[in-house]
């Protein structure tokens, strides 16, 4: 039992965090140059030859930075292709395609590679709009949808951990500075305790997300349960983390100008895409009870 990332992986995390803090809107091509695409694809197929656990770090950090390019979907699709290509990919789930406008091709649940043509819908999370394909005709790919689906849900869980972490950090910073009634508001337990709960839940969510990532990376037997378990818990944690953070910010947290609403909308996006927490828990319940 060894539940820690390697030194190389921690180094990757530091690099990713520094890069995304400096370039939160870097185009996908820059991430490709950094070697962040196809990380877990074997070298002979043009990938990085590392593991899904390495990719996991990037999904988490992209969430923390609220990165809005089609990084997650492209990274999730690449292992399903015969060879890593230079295109931007999205993925169609339940008829919805994230970032349709910003990608070249789309992988569908029927394992078809379809040109990214269709309409983009007005979406609550403006940083990751959903679209609908005009047609689902395309080339059939070899391989199964299930591993793609598990990678996708695990990646969403990891991104949610990054969102929760950032919402918590913003809350801590604010309540440590802001004063009311002559005191820092963080000294009031009604303000501090919700943040303590967010901390506890975020650490629990992190453990589940890494467990899910490990299960996917090693193709473990429990992956079909671990992944929905993580998706459910992490998405709900991210949503609650943002809600508590908005509350302890007071009026400023309710403004368009403050970044929190964008984290909040992303958290809700993550919960909805691929099925809300209750849908994921139904899968877990079936495994436990039926």
């Amino acid at each position: 039992m060894d539940f820690a990332f390697t030194q190389e992986q921690e180094e990757l995390r530091r690099e990713a965090r520094a890069f995304l803090e400096a370039n939160p809107e870097a185009p996908l091509s820059e991430l490709r140059e950094l070697g962040w695409l196809g990380v877990s694809v074997p070298e002979e197929r043009g990938g990085g030859g590392l593991s899904f656990l390495d990719e996991a770090i990037l999904f988490e950090e992209a969430g923390r930075a609220l990165y809005s390019g089609p990084f997650l979907t492209t990274a999730v699709v690449l292992p399903a292709l015969p060879e890593v290509d230079e295109q931007a990919w999205s993925i169609e789930v339940d008829g919805f395609v994230p970032d349709l406008l910003h990608v070249d091709r789309v992988l569908t649940e029927e394992m078809r590679s379809v040109p990214a043509e269709g309409e983009t819908l007005a979406t609550m999370d403006e940083t990751r709009p959903l679209g609908r394909l005009t047609s689902s005709d395309g080339e059939a790919l070899d391989g199964e949808w299930e591993p793609v689906r598990l990678r996708l849900l695990a990646a969403l869980a990891l991104e949610a951990v990054g969102i929760a972490q950032r919402a918590l950090e913003l809350g801590i910073a604010y309540v440590s500075e802001r004063e009311q009634f002559g005191k820092k508001i963080g000294t009031y337990q009604a303000v501090a305790h919700p943040l303590a709960d967010t901390y506890v839940e975020t650490e629990l969510a992190r453990s589940l997300a890494y467990w899910a990532a490990f299960s996917v990376a090693e193709d473990e037997e429990q992956a079909p349960v671990a992944v929905p378990a993580a998706k459910a818990f992490c998405a709900e944690t991210a949503v609650a983390a943002c809600e508590r953070s908005i509350q302890v910010h007071g009026g400023i947290g309710f403004t368009w100008e403050h970044p929190l609403h964008r984290y909040y909308k992303r958290a809700q996006w993550l919960d909805a895409f691929g099925g809300h927490a209750a849908v994921q828990r139904a899968v877990v319940a079936a495994a436990l009870l039926d």
Binding site: M1, D2, F3, A4, F5, T6, L53, I172, V175, S176, K183, K184, G186, T187, Y188, Q189, A192, H193, L195, A196, D197, Y199, V200, E203, L204, A205, R206, S207, L208, Y210, W211, F214, A226, A229, A232, F233, A278, R281, A282, V284, A285, L288, L289
Partner: protein, 376 residues
């Protein structure tokens, strides 16, 4: 990262499973804790499974913490009762290992593992609960002993205990954290009186203890005279299950029973959702505990991520036991069989009070882990 057992861990697990298979009878599994527990604890001791992580020279096995985690997992899986010496094993022992003299270690530790000596914890007083530093039980040095006077309360197992870890005020003019002395007190000494307190569950598991001119030899000071606060903090760290394995194991056992009940009685979609939620929470605590353990092995200090384990566990146990009553339907009020769930549900209300209330634990996380401005 590799979440599977190492070959050594797998071997330990297999050996342990075989041992449990051979030694754990249904009688022990179903028996009343205070009677069946003693024999079972003795068996654990003889099998070398009591005090797995304690040093070999004091009767332990000197095993790594990962073995302790596996041990507790397997015990939960087999629905085995826990070792009877909860306080000795979980609190008094580790505190003696950390702060005791060689004589104290030799004299007390092995007897904890074998359950020859049962321990209780005398921390809380009528006027000092969450605010432990307010204790007033006095210990006045007089030659080769201290004279102890005062009252402790909510002391679990005191009615069957041979020894007590006692926090006292040895400097009558002192206040708060200074001037405290940590004593180990023989419960059979003249002047010690135990009065059981009936709990919400109807049974009397905790007690009041009255000390009237009780003589405690100076050799029984643990740590420094006046340095009791630091020693008490070591005890509390262990009590709150810094590493969370025991909490995970207890929750695992509970959720296994819950799932069995749901299969037997059927569950609505809402109940199925709630069961899945609790199972997911259990995995979350389990893997957070592992993460904290890995940090401990790599750095010597458990990671802060484990600090929420007791907080989460206590509230989860309250939800789980209530859910079980709900699965029983209107029959929930009827104490059939052995009234397991009714008892567990009522007992769970103590979980958010004992070993630091949830409010105090949130204060600690807010101030020490998140670094929020202090409220006091």
């Amino acid at each position: 990262m590799d979440l599977r057992d190492t070959p050594a861990e797998a071997a330990f697990r297999a050996e342990l499973r075989a041992w449990i298979e051979e030694n754990l009878t249904d009688e022990v599994r179903r028996g009343r804790f205070e009677e069946a527990g003693r024999d079972w604890s003795r068996k654990l001791y003889e099998g070398g499974y009591a005090g797995l992580t304690w040093p070999k020279e004091y009767g332990g096995a000197g095993a790594p913490y990962s073995h302790q985690a596996i041990f507790l997992e397997e015990m939960a899986r087999a629905e085995a009762p826990s070792h009877l010496g909860v306080i000795g094993l979980g609190m008094a022992g580790p505190t003696i290992i950390a702060h005791g003299t060689e004589e104290q270690k030799q004299a007390r530790l092995d007897a904890i593992l074998s359950t020859e000596e049962i321990w209780c914890q005398g921390f809380s007083e009528p006027g000092a609960g969450s605010d432990l530093a307010a204790v007033r039980t006095s210990a006045i040095e007089d030659g080769d002993h201290f004279v102890v006077n005062g009252q402790k309360v909510w002391s679990s197992f005191a009615h069957i205990a041979d020894w007590c870890i006692l926090v006292t005020r040895s400097d009558p003019d002192s206040q708060s954290h200074a001037g405290l002395t940590y004593l180990i007190v023989n419960m059979h000494s003249p002047g010690v009186e135990v009065r059981p307190l009936r709990q919400i569950t109807g049974e009397a598991e905790f007690n009041e203890i009255f000390f009237t001119d009780v003589k405690v030899p100076v050799e029984n000071v643990l740590g420094e005279v006046g340095g009791g606060w630091a020693v008490a903090m070591t005890t509390l760290l262990h009590e709150r299950g810094t590493l969370g394995f025991a909490l995970t194991a207890a929750l695992e056992a509970q959720i296994r029973k819950l799932i069995a009940l749901a299969k037997e009685r059927g569950a609505t979609d809402v109940q199925r959702d709630a069961i899945a939620r609790e199972w997911i929470g259990l995995q979350a605590v389990r893997y957070t505990t592992y993460r904290s353990l890995t940090t401990l092995i790599k750095t010597g200090i458990p990671g802060p991520e484990g600090s929420g384990a007791k907080l989460w566990w206590s509230e989860a146990n309250q939800r789980v036991t209530k859910l079980a009553l709900e699965l029983l339907g209107p029959e929930a009020q009827v104490i059939g069989d052995n009234g397991y769930w009714q008892h567990q549900q009522l007992r769970s209300r103590g979980n958010t009070i004992e070993a630091g209330t949830s409010e105090i634990l949130r204060n600690i996380i807010a101030e020490r882990v998140l670094g929020l401005p202090r409220s006091r």
